[in-house]
């Protein structure tokens, strides 16, 4: 596996929580501009994979590269620089509940960029407009519906214009139409900005729409990796079942 060209590279990554081995010898690479959908049954290490990539967790063994940087060898300052390249859409959006939607988005812009208040306003209006929340910026997170919260979380993940977007179950708990709107937003992000996207999902219909390649986890092992046709022909039964639309 090449370690030079990938936007994201996992090499022989192990992670355990106490006696439970969550990831076992996981290796894969995601190319720049590609969308990888991570599939698997609950508790098989999908969300942990994203959190390892964002360095919110540390692997027990192995290396994780974000572009050229091996994040397992970086200190906090180095990690901070790498995190700037990535945006994270959390499962429940993880908006700061004491701040308005506008302040949620303004916080990273004020702290991490040299933008003036006018430029911050413009950037927030643009990203909120893109996710269809232009008129809701003064609302508190508690006043947003489930679908709006997901879109707000996506807006926050995108406000720093990341090169890599990590989305943890972006359509969970949403109706089919709202989930489809989130998929559209991911597709548009990729088409317009060439963003590399890693999506953890249980929604195979959405995954087939947005995904270029698929990684299937089962009991901590990466049991299949490739395009949908390859997964459908995989020897692993769990992988075949997970990509099946039936």
């Amino acid at each position: 596996m090449s370690t030079e060209a990938g936007a994201v590279t996992f090499q022989h990554v192990f992670k355990a929580f106490g006696p439970k081995q969550v990831l076992r010898d996981v290796s894969f690479q995601v190319q720049p501009g590609e969308t990888l959908c991570i599939l698997g049954r609950s508790g098989t290490g999908k969300s942990v994979t994203l959190k390892l990539l964002m360095a919110l967790l540390k692997p027990d063994q192995g290396s994780i590269r974000v572009e050229q940087d091996d994040i397992t060898r970086l200190n906090e300052k180095g990690l901070s620089k790498v995190r700037r390249k990535m945006g994270f859409l959390f499962q429940d959006a993880a908006l700061f509940d004491s701040l308005t939607l506008y302040e949620n988005l303004a916080l990273p812009l004020r702290r991490l960029t040299e933008k003036t208040e006018e430029e911050i306003n413009f950037a927030i209006d643009k990203v909120l407009g893109n996710v269809g929340l232009g008129g809701d910026k003064e609302k508190m997170p508690a006043a947003l519906s489930g679908g709006m919260r997901k879109r707000a979380g996506l807006a926050r993940a995108l406000v720093l214009e990341p090169r890599i977007l990590l989305a943890d179950e972006p359509s969970s708990g949403l109706d089919r139409i709202t989930a489809s709107e989130i998929d559209e937003l991911l597709l548009r992000q990729k088409a317009e900005y060439g963003t590399t996207i890693l999506v953890v999902t249980h929604d195979i219909h959405g995954a087939r729409r947005v995904g270029d390649r698929f990684a299937v986890f089962d009991k901590g092992d990466l049991v299949a990796f490739g395009e949908v046709g390859e997964i459908e022909r995989s020897e692993n039964e769990t992988a075949r079942k997970l990509v099946s639309e039936e």
Partner: protein, 253 residues
């Protein structure tokens, strides 16, 4: 026993990190101001009401005893010394352990459970400096100020109680109250509440920030914050009083 030692070690390291990160730029001025206002202003009614009630009750209790010994004129002095030296600082500390400690513990634990802390980290913001340090600094700053309000509210409660019994004038009450009060009686005990603030902030933030028990952790963090910080405040008070006597021997009554 080993669990207790492990816990003490972890909280101490957490507190040490608060000090190091608190002294390391960039400083979270806006967050500190916000938290100080949150802790200070919102606790003020509770502290004033508690101080006033306690002052009234204390005078009611001490009056009968002092009158028996013909020392009714000493009531303002006793009241002032008791409040400024011990009751004000300790009760303010314990009240804040309940109100502020549970708040800090629950808020941070909720932020942990709902991945808001991970959200902050994912935005390249140091969550410890952004969430923990300002809360501890705010508790350190707010507690001495709140103690002053409690002291004076207690004195006012004592005056009103005494006024209803003896019709003493306010000017005379205040003159007698401060007649035997040295500056060291006032400054050192009030300053020691900054240590109480550090204990409340650090212990509560520790329970909230480090929990990994999901929503169940919110209740646990809130309860543990109050229990442990109250206990530590009482224990710390013993050592701080000895320390004050050592540094200001004239304050030992």
């Amino acid at each position: 026993m080993s669990t207790l030692i492990e816990f003490a070690g972890k909280v101490s390291l957490f507190g040490f990190r608060v000090i190091i990160d608190g002294l390391r730029p960039p400083f979270e001025g806006a967050q500190i101001l916000r938290q100080t206002a949150e802790i200070g202003c919102k606790s003020l009614p509770l502290v004033i009401a508690a101080g006033f009630a306690l002052g009234t009750v204390m005078t009611l209790h001490t009056r009968s005893t002092l009158v028996t010994f013909g020392a009714a004129a000493m009531i303002p002095t006793v009241q002032a010394l008791a409040f400024f030296v011990e009751i004000g600082p300790l009760v303010a500390g314990l009240l804040m352990a309940g109100r502020v400690g549970s708040g800090i513990g629950a808020v941070l634990a909720n932020m942990r459970a709902t991945e808001q802390i991970d959200g902050i980290e994912s935005l390249s913001i140091d969550s410890f400096k952004f969430l923990v340090v300002p809360r501890v600094v705010a508790a350190v700053v707010a507690l001495p100020l709140l103690t002053l309000f409690m002291d004076f509210a207690g004195l006012l409660g004592g005056f009103l109680s005494e006024f209803t019994s003896s019709k003493i004038s306010f000017a005379l009450y205040i003159r007698r109250a401060f007649e035997n009060l040295e500056l060291a009686n006032f400054v050192a005990p009030t300053a020691k509440t900054a240590v109480f603030g550090f204990i409340i902030g650090t212990v509560s933030a520790y329970f909230g920030y480090t929990t990994n028990r999901g929503s169940e952790g919110v209740g646990y963090a809130a309860t543990s914050s109050v229990v442990v910080s109250s206990l530590l405040i009482i224990l710390a008070d013993v050592f701080l009083v000895k320390f004050i006597f050592f540094v200001f021997p004239e304050t030992a009554l």
